[in-house]
Amino acid sequence: MSFFLDSFTVAAVSAGAFFFLAGSVGLLRFPDALSRLHALTKADNLGLGLVMLGLLPRADGLLAALKLVFVWLLVLLASAMVSQMVARVARRGGSPS
């Protein structure tokens, strides 16, 4: 049982790390502010979600697991809001470079 849980953790956290890597590459390589934002938020949401999912079996107790989920939800909220605002500035022609 614990072998399966451990493999699950390794697989999910590695997949999360891959999304972070892909997001960082996108942030560096994409041509304009909007597509860079797209890469960044994808990486944050999916990458952190997968890392959180992988760590869930290792949380001690239900409360700690719920806290992990809650942290992910807060990051989702923050990154969605902030990217909206940055995108708005970028569309108005300001340079958030």
């Binding site: 909220l77 909206q84 605002m85």
Partner: protein
């Protein structure tokens, strides 16, 4: 082996981003580097099991200071090109670099020349901690053994706020800090400013309350509460209070005054200034922290809001 490699990568990242922050030409880029540096540093504190320091570094060192520096960078943006033309001469820059390197080197020598194991008062703190009834050794040090430092700290932030206020022109003295924030009332910022504060207020109060027994405390909790207030102000849902308001000024000095009063009462009841009678230690420490909390929230938020720029009328 894995842990050592991770620590090495972490240390290299920290030094790298510190160097980049110094080398960055644009003020805004340097501030972004500083915030990232602070967040990496707070992870380093977590690795060292100093959770209290990590929380403070993330909340105040990186978060609040970062916001203050971003505000400063935004104000300087208009004059930045003009200023970057008049760069200091090479001799002055070399002198500054040498002085900074000398200070860093002296600190490094002092830290590296400590005997192993380093002298510590931790066992003494752990031995007598139970007398105060608190469970978090850091809070015991901050409010019992080194209460004087904490008292002066809480006064210094109020002085800093007075310093910011004194930058106001005479005609708006007593007015509202900062520009009037007008955001779309149905926009994304107003939505966030309605959604997040209930969560943030609970988290902030929890971190303040748990500080007696677990990592946390008033400074970290107050920063979160101040951030929530600033969010609501920036979304235009409420306005900063005019700095001439009596309730505001009373709350600003209430924390340090309660601290001083309990401190001097200790001279009569416990035999020394800033000492607590044993059976009431936990209660008195909580009273001091509860009184400091509004002072800190107001001070930290109004430090970010800035000097008065408008008269009390909107």
């Amino acid at each position: 082996m894995v842990a050592a490699t991770l620590a090495l990568i972490h240390a290299l990242l920290l030094v790298g981003i510190a160097a980049w922050t110094i080398a960055a030409r644009r003020t805004f880029a340097a501030v972004v580097g500083f915030v990232a540096y602070g967040l990496l540093l707070s992870i380093a504190w977590v690795v060292l099991s100093a959770i209290d320091v990590a929380l403070t570094e993330a909340a105040i060192g990186s978060g609040l200071t970062g916001v203050l520096l971003i505000g400063a960078a935004a104000r300087l943006r208009a004059t930045e090109t003009a200023i970057s033309v008049e760069r200091p001469g090479p001799s002055l820059r070399w002198l500054a670099a040498l002085t900074s390197a000398a200070v860093a080197g002296a600190i490094a020598i002092a830290v590296l020349s400590l005997p192993d194991p380093a002298p510590t008062l931790a066992p003494a703190v752990a031995q007598y901690m139970s007398v105060t009834g608190l469970g978090n050794a850091v809070t015991v040090v901050l409010l019992a053994y080194r209460a004087l430092d904490t008292l002066l700290e809480s006064i210094v932030v109020v002085f800093a706020l007075i310093g910011v206020w004194s930058l106001a022109p005479d005609r708006v003295w007593g007015g509202r800090p900062g520009p009037l924030h007008e955001a779309d009332p149905n926009g994304i910022l107003a939505y966030l400013a309605r959604l997040l504060p209930p969560i943030g207020i609970i988290v902030g109060l929890y971190i303040f309350w748990i500080g007696a027994d677990l990592p946390g405390g008033k400074f970290q909790g107050a920063t979160i509460l101040a951030a929530m207030w600033l969010l609501v102000m920036m979304a235009g849902l409420t306005d900063a209070p005019p700095i001439s308001r009596t309730w505001l000024r009373i709350l600003l000095v209430a924390g340090p005054l309660v601290f001083i009063a309990i401190g001097f009462a200790g001279a009569l009841t416990a035999g020394a200034v800033l000492a607590y009678p044993d059976e009431y230690a936990k209660l008195l420490i909580k009273v001091i922290e509860a009184a400091l909390m509004p002072t800190l929230v107001l001070t930290l938020a109004l430090l970010v809001a800035g000097a008065p720029e408008r008269t009390a009328r909107r």
